[in-house]
């Protein structure tokens, strides 16, 4: 009524004319609206769009953390629920950086921690402290059937017991055998990298130089619901949005072994990295048993997280801030994830109905 007086119907107008209560209520609301308009007045802004665009264009592109990206997560095919996908990418960063330096890490439960883009950038500096080599390269493959995926992964593909009625019947299977990475701490490389970038990185703790972390990930199976290959033949096609309707993933829990490095050393080392937010540090410190906890980084600018119970165990539900996507991750022997452009309640329902 205040914003658009013409929207009032004639009967409403008649009622208003004779109702002192409505008139008083309207006067109060109109007073609030005028006051707020004054309070929120802002100085003039005359943006130079062309030079702003140049600055944005010159921002560095993001490179895959481990030098590869899954074909189903190409930028052109993932426009909608990237808030969740970003959490998965950040998971690799934080989990390998923090929990994985333990003598033996095998997570049994999940715990969300808040991260910012700045946190991820700060943590990525860790890669300058040594060399990452794959002793068994990750080899994700798109296969034709669940049986083919099971043959690669060595376990039964998860089957959805419940799906929304509108869900696509087209399922693309991807599978990856076990992959093993070795990260070797190298004090010399860290010093060189710090000198080249001008960053002040914390000094590598004594005794860590030359120590190795062996990280085992997978095997894993990913099931993607929806037609995924409808858009690469023409320019017009590239404008189409090719969004999976649902992604279900199951993977053996990651394991880490290390030489020389102790959990305490790693924790101190991670927490000493400049640029980490107080919230992230506090969350990392608050985790009770990092040797059995899989950290789920939640990018706070894009996503929110809540604790949920899935299949009788604790899970973390992550929601994209746009309200367009959500996902849930839990550990029950293996690590499971269900992600899609769906409401959280639907995603949790699908997760609870999953048979593995």
């Amino acid at each position: 009524m205040f914003d658009d007086p013409d929207a009032l119907t004639s009967s409403d107008r008649q009622h208003y004319a004779g109702c002192a209560g409505c008139q008083a209520r309207y006067a109060g609301m109109a007073d609030d609206a005028r006051a707020v308009a004054t309070l929120l007045a802002a100085p003039d802004l005359q943006p130079d769009v062309a030079s702003a665009f140049k600055r944005v264009q010159s921002a560095p592109a993001v490179k895959p953390r481990f030098g590869f990206s899954l074909p189903i997560l190409r930028p052109s095919s993932r426009p909608m629920f990237v808030g969740v996908a970003a959490a998965a990418v950040a998971l690799a960063v934080v989990a390998t950086a923090f929990a994985n330096v333990l003598p033996l890490f095998q997570p049994k439960t999940v715990e969300p921690v808040p991260v910012t883009v700045a946190d991820i950038q700060s943590l990525s500096a860790l890669s300058q402290y040594g060399t990452l080599t794959w002793s068994t390269q990750p080899q994700p493959k798109i296969v034709l059937s669940a049986a083919d995926a099971e043959a690669i992964a060595g376990f039964k593909a998860p089957a959805a017991g419940y799906l929304p009625s509108t869900m696509s019947k087209t399922i693309t299977y991807a599978a990856m055998p076990k992959a093993v990475a070795v990260f070797t701490f190298d004090a010399g490389k860290a010093a060189t990298a710090a000198a080249q970038t001008g960053q002040s990185l914390p000094k590598l703790p004594k005794g860590m130089d030359g120590s190795k972390l062996t990280v085992t990930v997978g095997p894993a199976i990913v099931e993607v619901y929806g037609k995924m290959n409808a858009s690469s033949s023409s320019d017009a096609g590239s404008q189409q949005i090719n969004v999976p309707e649902l992604v279900i993933g199951e993977s053996a829990a990651p394991q880490v072994t290390s030489t020389q490095v102790t959990p305490k050393q790693l924790e101190d080392y991670i927490l000493s990295i400049p640029g980490l937010s107080k919230d992230l540090k506090a969350a990392l410190k608050a985790i009770g048993d990092p040797t059995s906890t899989l950290i789920i980084p939640v990018p706070i600018q894009y996503a929110t997280s809540t604790s949920v119970t899935v299949q009788g165990v604790k899970g973390v539900a992550v929601g994209d801030n746009t309200g367009l996507g959500s996902g849930v991750i839990w550990i029950k022997g293996h690590v499971f994830a269900v992600v899609g452009p769906l409401k959280q309640i639907e995603v949790v329902k699908i997760a609870n109905g999953l048979k593995s």
Partner: protein, 182 residues
């Protein structure tokens, strides 16, 4: 971003170029509005442009510019990113309030508040103390978005916006008064 063009095989070049073109078109059509939303929160044109550029960079890293939700995502992200910046200052401002007890007995007239920059900061701090949704409703509407655009940005029904807005206005006035008497 431009480096992608060099790194991709010829078959992918067209697709990447198309993505870049779509992003440029989106940037040109939405930048002023996104910066305006941030400026409404921050009351600082330079910082507002920083926020706007950060929002576009994040969007480009995460989404396709041809996504139908792109403007709504940008508007919402601009409001939340700017509000987060203000929230980051809250502790410092609380200390400043504590160090200025003479302000405690001051009564607030919204009309007078605009007269000094310090009071503008009080308003922004009050805005940042609101729950995220009411704060975003106020900022987006004050930035000139229609009810439908505000609803899209926040993922709620257009019919709810009027009520959300009125409640948020009352809450902000109350919060400004409370904040200035801390």
């Amino acid at each position: 971003m431009a480096a992608n063009l060099e790194a991709v095989p010829e078959g992918r070049t067209r697709l990447v170029k198309s993505r870049e073109d779509a992003f440029e078109a989106l940037f040109k059509s939405e930048y002023a509005r996104v910066a305006g939303i941030a400026n409404r929160v921050l009351a600082d044109p330079h910082e507002a442009e920083d926020v706007a550029q950060e929002v576009f960079i994040n969007f480009h890293r995460l989404h396709s510019a041809s996504a139908p939700f792109a403007p709504a995502w940008l508007h919402r992200a601009a409001a939340h990113t700017a509000l987060n910046r203000v929230r980051g200052r809250r502790r410092r401002e609380k200390r400043e309030f504590a160090q200025a007890p003479e302000e405690a007995s001051r009564t607030v007239d919204p009309q007078q508040m605009l007269e000094v920059g310090e009071d503008r900061r009080v308003v922004r701090a009050a805005l940042a103390r609101l729950a995220p949704k009411p704060a975003a409703v106020l900022v987006l509407r004050a930035s000139g978005l229609s009810y439908a655009e505000v609803a899209q940005a926040l993922g709620v029904g257009t019919g709810q916006i009027g009520t959300l807005l009125r409640r948020a206005e009352a809450a902000l006035r109350k919060e400004v008064t409370r904040g200035s008497s801390i």
